[in-house]
Amino acid sequence: MSSGSSTDYLLAVEDLTVSFDGFKAVDSLTFYVDADELRVIIGPNGAGKTTVLDLISGKTAASEGSIKFNNQELLGKREHAIVRAGVGRKFQTPSIYEDLTVLENLEISFPWGRTVWGSLTFNRTPEISDKIHKVAEEIYLSDKLDEKAELLSHGQKQWLEIGMLLVQEPELMLLDEPVAGMSVKEREATAKLLKKVAKGRSIIIIEHDMEFVESIANRVTVLHMGKILAEGNMAEIKANETVKHVYLGD
């Protein structure tokens, strides 16, 4: 694993490699994300996109390389430590607490009182209530606070999960297919939400829907077979011959 080269970037991924039983899912990957950037990662299936998020968030351990967040090395840290460092992750299928209400879902994600003692003595203060209400408004769910999460529509569940991340006030958000299964209107609303939310933090999004990607991305990274195929803004990527070949196979 490479040692401490200092960097200005919010997230510096260098030479990241992980292999499963000999198969290199991610191969010497290097890319950088600035503060306040909205980066989208695209690529055909099996390119390693979700694996990259897994590696950053600590779900999977890398074989080689380094991931620096605010100049802190993330590799080797456990998931909750990475979350507490300021990295939030949203999963491909909405991972929310179905039996709890929307309010409780947001509350349990609140970044105070996450230790054993902290949770024993945690109290729902007015300050916390306020914060939760604010977030609920942002994710278009302020009238659904007392409803059980399992009764929400698929799109609303995605928003709830994003809300659960927002409550933690992360500096870096990792979103895996946030608009999968959403209607057109919902996609537009999500694009609006994400653009608003990106102020003051960075977001990495994995997506397949090109229209959505175009409407929100600053920069796009194309992944293929665990390596970076191309990087640039949307116009550059669309014009790139290699990308077209990989996607359309001609």
Partner: protein, 388 residues
């Protein structure tokens, strides 16, 4: 939606609303008033013995029902408390005066029989009652912490953990049986007479001990209810059903698991100590692999999500056992084995489930309950469970 300041009060959390209050009062009246009124001291003492098993069941409700950690080795902690108390009582009964016919007076008889000539060092703390009482609480914490730290940090799945707890209690059994000179071996420690001068075998003492036992049991239940009503309780249930999401919300799940496992261990240990006091002896056959699983069935019958249910479940099963196993030993075993199967398949929420599904809606018409139900765990076979 405003925050009710009363919600944050510890007592309120422990009582658990109107329904909790009723449940508490019913159990308290049953155990503190009804039974002592109608039962002879002999039977009361027997009930007290069964109630000491209930401690273990209560602990299991916490770590298994709510935490998702099935421990098949709670006998280990029951034994730690039970043996600690037994060692204290044994030392007291082995004063030089009463043991003067031994080769080495002043040490327990089984040590003498096994050619042990000096009290081993680790027995010395048990000469003092405060130290013994402290150890009844401290020993299970130390053991449960050590056992759980490695396995939860190592992300061992719940099934493998259950198997390991079984091996742990088997190990303790061998430690005791193999060290006749230090622990009395398979015969256990008998002839326990007085607690700091107070004869625990008299009727009056047995009555008192019964009330002490009930009191401690109710207090344990209230403490557990309090824990469940805090954020920790919510996190506990969340991590049981959706481990990953809780991790990614920034919680260190291992700490929570270790904590609840320690809580269950301490409660079981207290039960063990009360058992020794009320029954007057302790033996490895009470704490091995088989008794440990029996204790799980107590919690399962009562309802693994119900603290009060654990008490009723324990009383019911132990009562049935004592009534039938003597007269119909063969039939009893068939019934008992089938009980495991029937409860798991037909009544996974135990008697408490029956209460919630049938009695409560009826009762709710009489009194207004508005408490939300906690669901039974949705178990999933995770990738850690050995899919090839």
């Amino acid at each position: 939606m405003k925050t009710k300041s009363s919600e944050n009060n510890a007592i309120t959390k422990a009582i658990g609303g109107k329904e909790g209050l009723v449940a508490l009062v019913v159990l308290a009246v049953l155990l503190l008033v009804v039974l002592p009124l109608f039962l002879s001291v002999f039977r009361l003492n027997l009930t007290g013995k069964y109630l000491s098993y209930a401690f273990v069941a209560v602990g299991l409700v916490m770590c298994w029902g709510y935490g998702g950690i099935l421990s098949l080795g709670q006998g280990l902690f029951f034994g730690l408390g039970g043996y600690s108390m037994a060692m204290f009582l044994k030392l007291e009964a082995s004063d030089p005066e009463s043991t003067k016919i031994q080769t080495t007076p002043g040490i327990p008889d089984f040590m003498d029989w096994n050619q042990v000539t000096e009290l081993p060092t680790f027995w010395i703390p048990f000469k003092s009652l405060p130290a013994t009482l402290a150890l009844v609480v401290v020993l299970p914490i130390v053991f449960s912490y050590l056992l759980s730290v490695f396995y939860f940090r190592g992300r061992v799945g719940p099934v493998v953990f259950a198997i390991l707890t079984q091996s742990m209690v088997a190990c303790l059994w061998y430690v005791i049986v193999g060290n006749q000179g230090y622990f009395g071996g398979i015969n256990g420690m008998t002839d326990l007479k007085t607690l700091a001068g107070w004869d625990i075998r008299t009727e009056e003492a047995q009555r008192t001990l019964y009330f002490v036992c009930v009191g401690l049991l109710l207090v344990s239940i209230l403490v557990c209810r309090w824990i469940l009503a805090t954020r920790l309780g919510r996190v506990l249930v969340a991590q049981r059903d959706k481990e990953e999401r809780v991790r990614f919300s920034g919680y260190n799940i291992s700490s929570f698991r270790i904590f609840i496992f320690c809580v269950a261990a301490v409660i079981s240990s207290i039960g063990g100590a009360l058992f020794t006091l009320q029954v007057g002896f302790m033996s490895p056959n009470l704490i091995g692999v088989v008794p440990s699983i029996d204790m799980v069935i107590f919690a399962a019958v009562g309802g693994r999500l119900s603290l009060y249910g654990a008490v009723y479940g324990t009383l019911l099963v132990t009562l049935a056992k004592s009534l039938f196993s003597e007269s119909y030993p063969n039939l009893w075993m068939f019934f008992y084995g089938s009980l495991f199967i029937v409860i798991v398949i037909l009544l996974p929420k135990g008697l408490a489930g029956l209460y919630q599904d049938y009695l409560r809606p009826w009762g709710a018409k009489l009194i207004d309950f508005r408490k939300r139900r906690v669901p039974v765990q949705k178990e999933t076979v995770t990738s850690q469970e050995g899919k090839a």
